[in-house]
C-alpha cells in the first residue's frame, strides 16, 4: 500500500542504497570515484527521504514496528550522520580500493539496521535489527588496510559485541518471563507494576547492556579505545556518531518502559554515569593518540548522556536527545579534521597536529571549536547540551551528580587544551607540508562551525523537536 510505503520511506531509501552498492560491489573493476558519487548521492537522497518521512505516524508489521516522531527524528539524525560520514570518504585511503563498494555497502546496512532498531516495538525485531547493524560494524572495523592492529581491533570488537548481545538476550528472557510478552507495548503496561521484583529490574538492566555497549558506557567501554584507533578513520567517525545516536534512542525507549518508577534502576544508572564520566576523563588525560583520546572522551560523554536519561523525565529525555545531536555535530567536526589531516589514512598522534594553524588554518579553527564544544564552553552547542542535561538532573534533585559532572567537564578541558595547544602553539615539523583543503571541505568546515555556534545560541527549535519526540513515547505508547 502506498501509505505503508510512506511510513517506510527512510528505510526504503537505505535499502535502495544498499542494493545499488551491492551491484557496484559485484563489478570486477572498482572505480573509487564512481562508487563515491553513487554513495554520496544516495545518502543525500536518504536525508531527503528522512525529512519527508519526519511527520509520518503509524504502525507496520502487526504492531512490531512503530513509526512516530521519536523514531523519525532519530532516523533523520542517522541519515544526516551517514551522509556526513560518506561526504568525508572522498579519499578513502585507509581502506583497500577493491573493498570500497563493500565499505559503503556495510555502512548502509548498518544504518538500515539502526533505523529499524529505533522503530522496533518487539524484542525480536529489536534484536534482529541490532544484530544487522552490529554485524555490519564487525565487518567494517577490520576493513582497514596495512597495519597489524586492525585484526586485534576487529576481533576485540566482535568478541565484546557478541558477549554484550548474549547478555542482552539473557535479559530479554527475564523480561519476557516477567511480562509474558515480547511486545514493548504490553511490557510497558505491566512493567511499572512488576519492576520492584528483582527479576524484572535485573532483566531490564541486562537488556540495556546491549546499548551500553554501543554507547561505550562503563563497564562496556573496553572495546572503544582499540576500535577507535584500529578502525579506518572514516569507520571510527561513523562509530562515534551514528552508532551512538541509535544507542541513545533505544536507551530512552527502554528506560521509558518503567515510567520512571524504579529507584533501583535509577541508582544503577547513576553509578554507571559517574563511573563513565570519571573513568573516561581521567584515562583520556594520558593518551597520546588522538583517536584513543577521543575514544575515552566518548566514554565520558556517554556518562553525560546517561545523566539526562536516568532522570526518566520529559526534560531529561529531550535534553539527552539534544545532547546526542550536539555530540554528533562536535564529534564529527573533530573526526573530520582527523580524516583530513591523516591524509594517508594513518593514525594520528596528538603531536602530529603540531603547527596545524600554519598547515591548514581552517581545519585548526574547526578542531578548536569542536574541542571547546566537547569541553562544554559556551556559546557552542556542547555547552547548551551539557547545560540541558545538568538542568534535567538538577530538576530531579541530583545536586551532587551535577557537581561531579561539572568537575569532570573541567578535567576534560585539560586534555582538550593539550590538543589545541599542539595545533596552535607548536611549530610544524619539517616533513609537515601545508594541507590542501578543497572547496567542498572548506564549505563543510564553515557549515560545521556555524552549526556548532548556531545550535548553541539558538537551541529553541531543536529542543522543541526533541520535546515533542519524547512526548510521543511517554504519552503516546
Amino acid at each position: 500500500m502506498p501509505s505503508d510505503l510512506a511510513l517506510f520511506l527512510p528505510e526504503t531509501s537505505a535499502l535502495l542504497m544498499a542494493l545499488v552498492l551491492f551491484f557496484l560491489s559485484l563489478a570486477r573493476e572498482t572505480h573509487h570515484r564512481r562508487t563515491y558519487i553513487w554513495a554520496l548521492g544516495l545518502s543525500l537522497l536518504g536525508v531527503v527521504a528522512a525529512l519527508a518521512g519526519l511527520g509520518a505516524q503509524g504502525s507496520l508489521f502487526f504492531g512490531a514496528y512503530r513509526v512516530d516522531l521519536f523514531s523519525q527524528v532519530f532516523k533523520l539524525i542517522l541519515a544526516v550522520a551517514v551522509f556526513l560520514v560518506v561526504s568525508i570518504c572522498g579519499e578513502l585511503t585507509g581502506v583497500e580500493e577493491r573493498y570500497h563498494p563493500e565499505f559503503f555497502l556495510f555502512l548502509t546496512t548498518c544504518t538500515l539496521g539502526m533505523m529499524l532498531m529505533v522503530s522496533a516495538m518487539e524484542l525480536m525485531t529489536l534484536y534482529f535489527s541490532l544484530e544487522l547493524s552490529s554485524f555490519s560494524l564487525y565487518l567494517l572495523v577490520p576493513l582497514r588496510s596495512g597495519v597489524r592492529i586492525d585484526v586485534e581491533a576487529g576481533v576485540k570488537y566482535l568478541f565484546i559485541g557478541i558477549t554484550a548481545s548474549c547478555i542482552m538476550l539473557f535479559g530479554m528472557s527475564y523480561v519476557f518471563g516477567v511480562a509474558h510478552s515480547t511486545s514493548l507495548d504490553k511490557i510497558m503496561d505491566v512493567l511499572p507494576l512488576l519492576i520492584h521484583q528483582p527479576a524484572a529490574a535485573i532483566g531490564l538492566l541486562l537488556l540495556l547492556s546491549g546499548f551500553f555497549f554501543k554507547l561505550a558506557v562503563f563497564p562496556f567501554h573496553f572495546w572503544a579505545p582499540d576500535v577507535y584507533q584500529g578502525a579506518a578513520n572514516q569507520v571510527t567517525t561513523y562509530i562515534a556518531t551514528a552508532s551512538k545516536a541509535a544507542a541513545v534512542a533505544l536507551l530512552i525507549r527502554l528506560t521509558a518502559l518503567t515510567s520512571g518508577t524504579s529507584l533501583y534502576l535509577m541508582n544503577v544508572l547513576i553509578g554507571l554515569c559517574v563511573a563513565s564520566m570519571c573513568l573516561g576523563n581521567l584515562v583520556a588525560i594520558v593518551q597520546k593518540d588522538l583517536k584513543r583520546m577521543l575514544a575515552y572522551s566518548s566514554v565520558a560523554h556517554a556518562g553525560y548522556v546517561l545523566m539526562g536519561i536516568l532522570t526518566m523525565t520529559e526534560l531529561g529525555y529531550s535534553s539527552s536527545i539534544f545532547y546526542t545531536v550536539a555530540y554528533m555535530v562536535m564529534n564529527f567536526a573533530a573526526f573530520m579534521v582527523v580524516v583530513k589531516v591523516a591524509s594517508r589514512g594513518q593514525d594520528l598522534k596528538i603531536a602530529d597536529l603540531a603547527g596545524l594553524h600554519r598547515r591548514a588554518p581552517l581545519l585548526a579553527l574547526t578542531l578548536m571549536m569542536a574541542l571547546f564544544s566537547l569541553a562544554g564552553i559556551p556559546p557552542t552547542v556542547g555547552f547548551t547540551g551539557k547545560f540541558l542535561v545538568f538542568a534535567a538532573a538538577m530538576q530531579h534533585g541530583h545536586f551532587w551528580l551535577v557537581l561531579v559532572g561539572m568537575i569532570n567537564a573541567t578535567v576534560s578541558l585539560y586534555y582538550y587544551l593539550m590538543v589545541i595547544k599542539a595545533a596552535y602553539l607548536l611549530e610544524p615539523g619539517v616533513q609537515a607540508p601545508p594541507i590542501e583543503v578543497s572547496v567542498p571541505t572548506r564549505l563543510l568546515n564553515y557549515a560545521l562551525i556555524a552549526g556548532l555556534v548556531y545550535l548553541g545560541v539558538f537551541p529553541q527549535q531543536l529542543l522543541g523537536l526533541a520535546d515533542s519526540a519524547v512526548r510521543h513515547i511517554l504519552g503516546g505508547v
Binding site: 545538568f390 538538577m394 551535577v402 561539572m406 568537575i407 578541558l413 602553539l425 529553541q460 529542543l463
Partner: protein, 489 residues
C-alpha cells in the same frame, strides 16, 4: 538627548562582536586595518559608556537602559540587559581599559589578526557579564570572557607562558564548575521557572537554599576574584600574559569575580552572605596580608603587581563581606579604582619590558632618568596602590577600612597592617627600579613616544579625576548598593 528606544547596552555589547567579525574577514597581511577596526570598536564602546554614565538618572536609581527579550521561553531564559549603580562603573572601567589596551598593543607584529580577534571576544564576554541580568546569559558571557585567555597567554605571553595559561584556564573554569550547579540549584529551588536574576532576588529564597547557594557562588566566582587560597593562578597568569591582556585581565577580568559574588551571590542570597560572612572576611584578610608579604619577596615587576592585586582584591572582598553600605560601596569603588590603576601598572611595565627585555627589579635601576615618562606613570600607579590621598583608591580603601574595622575589629586592623606592608614593598620597588644607580645597559632604551603616552595619560587622568571628585562615582554607586544593603539582616 537620550533616545529611550535605542539599545545603548546592546550597542556596547555588539561593538566588539561586530569588530571581531570584521577582523575575521580581513586578510592576514592587513595588520593596519585590524588595529584600526579594534580601536574603532573600542572607541564606540568608550563613547557610549561615557554617555550612559552621564545620562544615568541618579535620583530615579534602579535599573536603567533595560532591554529584555525572551530567548528560550520553555526554560525562562531572557536576553536581559540593564545597568544600575553597581555595574555602570564596571562598564565604564571596561571601556577605559579596553580602549587603552588596544592602543598599548599598537606595535604588536606577531599574529596580529588572531590577537585582536581574541581580545575583542574576551571584552565582549566581559561586557556581557557586567550588563546581563539573566543568570544563564551571565554565565555564558562569563565563560566566553575566560577561554580566550588561554591562547592569548600561551601564544603571545612570556615567562612560563604555557604553564601560566593552563593553570589560569583550569582554575577559572573549575570556579565556573561551581557556579553553574549553583545557578541551576537556585533556578529549581526558586520554583519561578525563570533565570531572571531580579525576579528571583525579589521573590527571595529559602534560608537553606541561600546557605548552599551563596557557598557555591562565593567560591565559584571567588576564584576569579583572587580570593585566598584560590589566588595562585593570578600572579602566574599576570606575569605570563602579554601587556594588554594583563591590563584587561587584572584590570577588568578579576572584577568579574567580585562582581559575580556581589550581583549573583549577595543579591540572590543575602541571608547566605550573613551566614558565610565571617569566613568570607577571614579569607579576604588573609589574602590582603598574604599578598603583601609575598609581594615583599618578589623581584619581578609583574609578580610584584600580581601579588599587590591579590592584596587589593582582598580589600574588595573584605568590603563586600561587611555587608554595610559604606563597605560594599567602597568595594565597588575599589574595583573601579584598582582596575584603572592596575591597567596603568601593566601598561607601563609592558613598555619598560619591550624596551629593556627585562622586568626584574635588580637588573633595572635609575629608570627615572632613562624613561622619565614611563617612570612617572609607574610611580603614580604605585602611589595610587598605596592609597595616597587625592587618588581614586584612597577613598575606596578608606571606606573599606572604616567599615571593615567597625564590623570585624581584629580582621580590619590586620588588613590595615597588610596595606602598610604593601606600601613598604611598593616603595621599595619604586626606589630600586626608578632611582638608585643607572644601569648603563639600557642607556639607549627609548622612552614612550608622544602617541603612546596618551593611553597611559588617560588612565592616570581617570585616577586623578576620581581621586579629586570621588562623588562622581560614589553617589552613583550608592544608588545601586543602597537597595541591596537593605536585604542584609
Amino acid at each position: 538627548m537620550i533616545d529611550p528606544g535605542f539599545p545603548y547596552l546592546s550597542a556596547i555589547l555588539l561593538a566588539p562582536v561586530l569588530g571581531l567579525l570584521i577582523i575575521l574577514l580581513l586578510p592576514h597581511q592587513n595588520q593596519r586595518a585590524v588595529r584600526w577596526v579594534s580601536l574603532a570598536s573600542a572607541g564606540v564602546c568608550l563613547v557610549l559608556s561615557v554617555f550612559i554614565y552621564a545620562a544615568y538618572d541618579q535620583p530615579a536609581g534602579g535599573l536603567q537602559f533595560v532591554e529584555r527579550v525572551p530567548w528560550v521561553r520553555s526554560l525562562g531564559i531572557f536576553y536581559y540587559l540593564g545597568v544600575d549603580g553597581i555595574n555602570l562603573p564596571m562598564v565604564l572601567l571596561t571601556s577605559i581599559v579596553f580602549f587603552t589596551g588596544v592602543w598599548t598593543m599598537w606595535d604588536l607584529t606577531r599574529r596580529v589578526k588572531e590577537f585582536f580577534a581574541l581580545m575583542l571576544l574576551m571584552v565582549a564576554g566581559v561586557y556581557g557579564v557586567f550588563m546581563s541580568l539573566d543568570l544563564i546569559f551571565l554565565f555564558v558571557w562569563y565563560d566566553v570572557s575566560l577561554f580566550p585567555m588561554y591562547p592569548l597567554i600561551a601564544i603571545w605571553g612570556s615567562t612560563r607562558k604555557e604553564y601560566g595559561a593552563l593553570k589560569l584556564t583550569l582554575y577559572l573554569l573549575a570556579g565556573s564548575a561551581l557556579v553553574l550547579p549553583g545557578i541551576l540549584y537556585v533556578y529549581f529551588k526558586s520554583g519561578l521557572h525563570t533565570f531572571d536574576l531580579v525576579m528571583i532576588a525579589q521573590a527571595g529564597l529559602a534560608p537553606d537554599v541561600q546557605y548552599l547557594g551563596f557557598f557555591l557562588f562565593l567560591f565559584g566566582f571567588g576564584v576569579l576574584a583572587g580570593l585566598w587560597p584560590f589566588h595562585t593562578w593570578s600572579p602566574v597568569g599576570h606575569v605570563a600574559a602579554p601587556t594588554a591582556v594583563s591590563m584587561i585581565h587584572a584590570g577588568v577580568l578579576m572584577k568579574l569575580g567580585a562582581y559575580g559574588v556581589l550581583r549573583v551571590g549577595m543579591s540572590l542570597c543575602p541571608q547566605g552572605l550573613m551566614d558565610w560572612s565571617p569566613l568570607f572576611a577571614l579569607l579576604a584578610t588573609v589574602g590582603i596580608v598574604y599578598g603583601a608579604f609575598v609581594g615583599l619577596a618578589q623581584t619581578d615587576l609583574k609578580y610584584v603587581i600580581g601579588y599587590s592585586s591579590v592584596s587589593h582584591m582582598g580589600l574588595v572582598s573584605l568590603g563586600l563581606a561587611t555587608g554595610s553600605l559604606g563597605g560594599v560601596s567602597g568595594a565597588v569603588f575599589q574595583m573601579f579604582a584598582h582596575g584603572v590603576m592596575t591597567a596603568l601598572f601593566f601598561s607601563t611595565v609592558g613598555h619598560i619590558y619591550d624596551r629593556t627585555h627585562t622586568k626584574l627589579v635588580p637588573e633595572l635601576g635609575g629608570m627615572a632618568k632613562l624613561m622619565p615618562r614611563a617612570s612617572f606613570f609607574f610611580i603614580l600607579a604605585a602611589l595610587a596602590g598605596i592609597g595616597v590621598p587625592c587618588l581614586a583608591s584612597f577613598w575606596a580603601e578608606l571606606l573599606v577600612f572604616v567599615n571593615g574595622v567597625q564590623r570585624y575589629p581584629v580582621l580590619g586592623v590586620l588588613a590595615v597592617l597588610g596595606l602598610v606592608i604593601s606600601a613598604l614593598f611598593m616603595l621599595r620597588v619604586v626606589q630600586k627600579t626608578f632611582y638608585g644607580e643607572k644601569n648603563q645597559r639600557y642607556a639607549g632604551a627609548p622612552d614612550m613616544s608622544g602617541v603612546m603616552v596618551l593611553p597611559r595619560a588617560m588612565l592616570a587622568g581617570t585616577i586623578l579625576l576620581f581621586g579629586l571628585l570621588p562623588r562622581l562615582a560614589l553617589d552613583l554607586i550608592n544608588t545601586g548598593v543602597l537597595p541591596l544593603v537593605g536585604t542584609f539582616k
